[in-house]
Subunit: 137 residues, 2 copies
Amino acid sequence: MLTIGDLSKRTGVKVPTIRYYEQMGLISEPERSEGNQRRYSKADQERLAFIRHGRDLGLTIDAIKELISLSQHPDRPCVGADRIAREHLDDVRGKIAQLKRLEHELERIVSHCDGHSIEDCYVIRALSDHGLCEHEH
Amino acid sequence: MLTIGDLSKRTGVKVPTIRYYEQMGLISEPERSEGNQRRYSKADQERLAFIRHGRDLGLTIDAIKELISLSQHPDRPCVGADRIAREHLDDVRGKIAQLKRLEHELERIVSHCDGHSIEDCYVIRALSDHGLCEHEH
DNA sequence: CTCAAAAGCTCTAGTCTCTAGAGAAATATA
DNA sequence: TATATTTCTCTAGAGACTAGAGCTTTTGAG
C-alpha cells in the first residue's frame, strides 16, 4: 500500500495531479487509511503509469479514458485502440510539418538581424508584413 | 473606420478574440460610435495583423507585448527583438525534436496493430509497459 | 511516549488563450 | 418602418493542471 506521495515519486506524476485524475475519473477512488488518507495498490500504480505514458505521448485525457475502457474488454478486437493511435500519429505529423515551416520562417527572420536599430529590424518588419514570409501560415 | 466585424474579416481574428486582446492590453481601446460600438482605424488593423502573425508563429501574448513595446522605440537597437525571435526558434526546434521521437514511437506502436484482440494489442501494451519503448520520453 | 515536522486532507481559485452564451442595444437592409 | 444582423457587456467554460489556505493525520527523533 502506497501513500499518494510514494505513488507520485514512483510514477513521476505530481500529487495534486493524481487527485485531479481521480476527480476526472481516470483512476478509481482508492482505499483510505483510518485517518482518511489515500492508499494505493500496485494495480493503481500501473494504471497511473499507463496514464502518464499516454500523456507523455500527447494523448488527451479523453483519448486515454477511451483506451482504458477498451482495455477493460480484452475480448474485443483492438481496432479502437489502433484508431486512436493512428489518429494521434496523423496529428503529430501535422504538427511537425507546421513547426518546420515555422522554424524556417524564424531562421530567415533571425538571420537578417544584426543589432541595428528597430526601425529596420527584420523581426518587427516580418511580423508587420506578411508579404515578407516565404510560406503561407 | 471599421466595425469590429469588418476588422475580424480582414485580419482573420475572431470578434471575441479582438475584444480579449483589448482587455489584455495588446491593442489600445478604439474610438466608439455614438451608440458605443468600437470603430477601428487602419493603424488598428495593422497592429492586429502583427499580433495575429505573431500568434500564428506561436509567440506568446507576453512576447508579442514585448515586441510591440520595442517597436515603439524605433531608435533603440533591436537586440531585444532579435533575442525574442532566437529564443523562440530554440523552442520550436526543441518541440520538433520531441515530436519526432513521438512520431517514431507511435509508428512502431501502430505498425504492430492488425485487428487482433485487445489482450495482445500493442497500443495498450506499449502504454502499459514503458520497456517496450525505443527511446526515453 | 511525546511532540514537532512532514505529508496528507478538502476546497477554492488561478493559469493561458481563447470561445460560447445570455440578454440588451445599436445599426443596416428591405 | 419593421425586421434582421451586428454589437454591446458580462459571465462561465474549455483543458490540464497548479497553488494556496487552513486543517488533520502520520512519521520520526529525543
